[in-house]
C-alpha cells in the first residue's frame, strides 16, 4: 500500500448547527489525483479548506505525512499544501508579484524566484505576462495565473476547487493538461473538487463521491461510475447529467427516458437504468428547429444566462435543464434573452453513456 500524504479520520465540520462535513474518512495517496465529485453544498470545498489547513475541523483528526496536525498552529504545515479557490482571487498587483508571493513567504532568493515564476508561466502558457496587471487579464488567464501561483510552490499536496468551472473550453483544456503534467512530472498529489462528470472521468486516478457532507463512494473512475447509476439521481445537479431508463430501438440505438417527456437518443445499446452526459459544447442552439441529421431536438426556454470569457453559458429548460455554451458573438447576433424560446439540438453520438 502506498503511503498517504494526508489522512482525514472522522473529520467533522459544523457551522453552528449546520454540519457540512460529517465524519469523513479519507486518505490521499502519494502521487495520485483524487477527484471529489458531488453537487454544490456537498462539503467538497470545506474538505479542501481543511486539507489546506485554513479551516479548522470541529471534530476528528487530520494527519499530514504521518503526523497529526495541530490546528492551533498550522503555519508550518500550510507551507506543504496549497489550495486554488473556485472563485479566482488575485492580489491587485502584477502577475509576477502574484506568482512570487508564496516564494517570498518561503524566503526564496530573488534569482530563483524569477526563474520559477518564468517556468510556471510557461507551464500555464502565459509566457511574458510577468509585468501585466493580474486583475486586468481575462477570466481564463486569471485562473491560469492562480494555478501557476500554486504550482510554483511545489507543495506535497495541491488542492483545486472546481478548477475549470466558469472557463471556456480552450482555457479548461489548458488547465486539464497542466494538472496532468504536474502530477506526472512532480508526483504531486492532487485533490480536485468538481461537479463536472466528464472531467472526473478523464483526469483522476480515484474518485470520491460526496453527498451531504459524506463520502458515499470511493474508488477508480470505472469502478465508481459502474456503481454510480443507483446514486446518480442525487447528482442531477451536475450539468447535463441525467439518469433514466434506456430502451433499445429498432435502428440499433437506444432511447433514454429521463423524465418529463424528454427522451434522449444515444448510440450505445443499453437497457434499463442508465446515466447520460452531454458536453455543453456539443449542443447547438437555434431560434427555429433546424433540419439536420442530429437525432435529439428539443424546444425550451432560456432560464439562466451566465457570462464566461468569450462564451455565454445558457440554461435551457426543455422539461429538464440543459446547459449549453455558445460564443458571445452568436449570442448577440441571435438576440437571445431570458425566457426566449429556443431549440437545442445534439447528435446521438455526442451523448456519453456512463
Amino acid at each position: 500500500m502506498m503511503m498517504a500524504v494526508a489522512e482525514l479520520k472522522k473529520v467533522t465540520k459544523a457551522y453552528g448547527n449546520k454540519i457540512v462535513v460529517d465524519a469523513v474518512n479519507l486518505q490521499i495517496r502519494e502521487g495520485e489525483i483524487l477527484a471529489l465529485l458531488g453537487p454544490n453544498g456537498s462539503g467538497k470545498t470545506t474538505i479542501l479548506k481543511i486539507l489546506a489547513f485554513i479551516e479548522n475541523p470541529t471534530g476528528g483528526e487530520v494527519k499530514f505525512q504521518g503526523e497529526k496536525v495541530n490546528f492551533k498552529n498550522t503555519e508550518k504545515v500550510r507551507l506543504q499544501s496549497t489550495l486554488v479557490f473556485q472563485k479566482t482571487t488575485l492580489f491587485g498587483t502584477s502577475v509576477y508579484n502574484n506568482i512570487a508571493y508564496g516564494l517570498k513567504m518561503r524566503k526564496v532568493p530573488k534569482e530563483t524566484r524569477d526563474r520559477e515564476v518564468k517556468k510556471a508561466l510557461e507551464i500555464v502558457k502565459l509566457e511574458g505576462f510577468e509585468k501585466r496587471n493580474a486583475r486586468k487579464l481575462s477570466g481564463g488567464e486569471q485562473q491560469r495565473v492562480a494555478i501557476a501561483r500554486a504550482l510554483v510552490l511545489k507543495t506535497k499536496l495541491l488542492l483545486l476547487d472546481e478548477p475549470t468551472a466558469n472557463l471556456d473550453p480552450k482555457n479548461a483544456g489548458i488547465l486539464e493538461e497542466v494538472i496532468d503534467t504536474v502530477n506526472r512530472e512532480n508526483k504531486t498529489a492532487i485533490v480536485m473538487a468538481t461537479h463536472n462528470m466528464f472531467q472526473a472521468k478523464k483526469l483522476p486516478h480515484r474518485i470520491a463521491l460526496m453527498d451531504e457532507g459524506k463520502i458515499t463512494e470511493i474508488g477508480a473512475p470505472a469502478e465508481v461510475f459502474g456503481k454510480l447509476s443507483k446514486n446518480l439521481a442525487r447528482f442531477a445537479a451536475v450539468d447535463n447529467t441525467f439518469t433514466g431508463t434506456a430502451k433499445a430501438t429498432a435502428s440499433g440505438t437506444s432511447k433514454v427516458d429521463i423524465g418529463n417527456n424528454v427522451q434522449i437518443e444515444v448510440t450505445a445499446q443499453r437497457q434499463g437504468a442508465t446515466a447520460v452526459f452531454i458536453n455543453p459544447q456539443d449542443i447547438i442552439v437555434s431560434k427555429t428547429a433546424v433540419e439536420s441529421s442530429a437525432r435529439n431536438v428539443f424546444k425550451g426556454k432560456i432560464t439562466e444566462i451566465a457570462d464566461l470569457d468569450s462564451l455565454v453559458k445558457l440554461k435551457v429548460d426543455v422539461g429538464k435543464p440543459f446547459t449549453v455554451q455558445i460564443t458571445k458573438r452568436s449570442f448577440s447576433e441571435m438576440g437571445l434573452c431570458l425566457n426566449a424560446e429556443v431549440f437545442i439540438t445534439f447528435k446521438a453520438s455526442s451523448v456519453q453513456v456512463l
Binding site: 479548506k49 489546506a52 485554513i54 503555519e75 500550510r78 507551507l79 499544501s81 496549497t82 489550495l83 479557490f85 472563485k87 482571487t89 492580489f91 491587485g92 498587483t93 508571493y101 508564496g102 513567504m105 518561503r106 511574458g128 509585468k131 501585466r132 496587471n133 486586468k136 501561483r149 500554486a150 510552490l153
Partner: protein, 252 residues
C-alpha cells in the same frame, strides 16, 4: 479695503525670491504636519486593522465614534490638549506645551479618526478571500494581514492625503498647544497661524503669499499621489499595443 492685487504681487515676489521667513514657516508646516501624519498612520493603521479584522462587541459603536470625531472642531481639540499639556495639567510634567512635539502629537490625534474611519472601510471592502489566499500560499497570520492591508492600499493612501490636508490646514491645535511662537529662537508658528497673524496686523502681502503656498503645497502633494497611482496605469497603457500585437501574431 487693503489692496488685494498689490498683496498678490507682493506675495509672488516673496515666493519667487525665496524669502527666508516664508521658507522657515513652510518647512515648519511640512515638518510638523508630515511627522504628525506619519505618527498617526503608525497608530491609526493597527487600530483600523483591529476594528476591521476582528469581531468584538461594540464594534459598530467604535466605528461610529471614530467617524463622529472626524468633524471635531480643531479648536476644541486644541483646548482639550492645551489643558492636558499645560504645566498645571495631567501631562504637564512632560513640559511639552509650546514644543513641536505637542503640535505633532496634537495633529496626530486630530487626524487619527480620519485614518481609522477610512482605513476600516478600505480594509472591509477588500475581498475576504485574500486572507485565506495569503495563508494557503504560505503566509503567517501576520503576513496575511499585511496582504489584506496592501489590497486596501488605495483607500488607505486616500486617508493619508485627507489627513495631511487636515493637519496642515488646521489652526486650533497648532495655535493653542504650539503657542504660535515667532521670533528668533525656537519657533512654533506655521502657515495657518502665520496667515492668521499677518491678516491681523495688516501684512496682507505676506498673508496672501502664505495662503498661496499652502494651496500650492496641498495641490502638489495631491498631484504627486494621483500621478503615482496613475503611473502604473500609464505603464500598462503604453504596453497594451505591444501585447495586442503579440497576441495577434500568436493567433496567426
Amino acid at each position: 479695503m487693503a489692496d488685494v492685487l498689490g498683496g498678490i504681487v507682493e506675495a509672488f515676489q516673496l515666493i519667487v525670491t525665496g524669502d527666508p521667513e516664508i521658507l522657515g514657516i513652510v518647512s515648519r508646516s511640512l515638518l510638523f504636519s508630515g511627522t504628525a501624519v506619519i505618527l498617526a498612520i503608525l497608530w491609526g493603521t493597527p487600530l483600523a486593522m483591529l476594528i476591521a479584522m476582528k469581531e468584538f462587541r461594540g464594534k459598530t459603536l467604535l466605528k461610529t465614534y471614530f467617524s463622529t470625531l472626524i468633524g471635531l472642531p480643531t479648536v476644541v481639540l486644541g483646548l482639550i490638549l492645551f489643558l492636558i499639556f499645560s504645566r498645571g495639567g495631567p501631562l504637564g510634567f512632560l513640559g511639552l506645551l509650546y514644543t513641536p512635539a505637542a503640535i505633532i502629537i496634537g495633529q496626530a490625534i486630530l487626524v487619527t479618526p480620519i485614518l481609522v474611519s477610512i482605513g476600516v472601510s478600505a480594509i472591509e471592502s477588500v475581498d475576504p478571500e485574500i486572507m485565506s489566499l495569503s495563508k494557503t500560499l504560505g503566509a503567517s497570520e501576520s503576513q496575511a494581514q499585511v496582504a489584506v492591508l496592501k489590497e486596501a492600499a488605495s483607500g488607505i493612501i486616500l486617508s493619508d492625503i485627507a489627513s495631511f490636508n487636515r493637519a496642515i490646514g488646521e489652526l486650533g491645535v497648532v495655535l493653542l498647544v504650539g503657542g504660535n511662537i515667532a521670533g528668533f529662537g525656537i519657533r512654533t508658528d506655521v502657515l495657518t497661524t502665520a496667515i492668521s497673524r499677518n491678516v491681523q496686523i495688516g501684512e496682507i502681502g505676506l498673508a496672501v503669499a502664505l495662503g498661496i503656498l499652502l494651496v500650492l503645497i496641498l495641490f502638489t502633494i495631491n498631484i504627486i499621489i494621483v500621478v503615482l497611482r496613475k503611473a502604473n496605469y500609464i505603464v500598462e497603457l503604453a504596453k497594451a499595443p505591444y501585447f495586442r500585437l503579440k497576441r495577434y501574431r500568436e493567433t496567426k
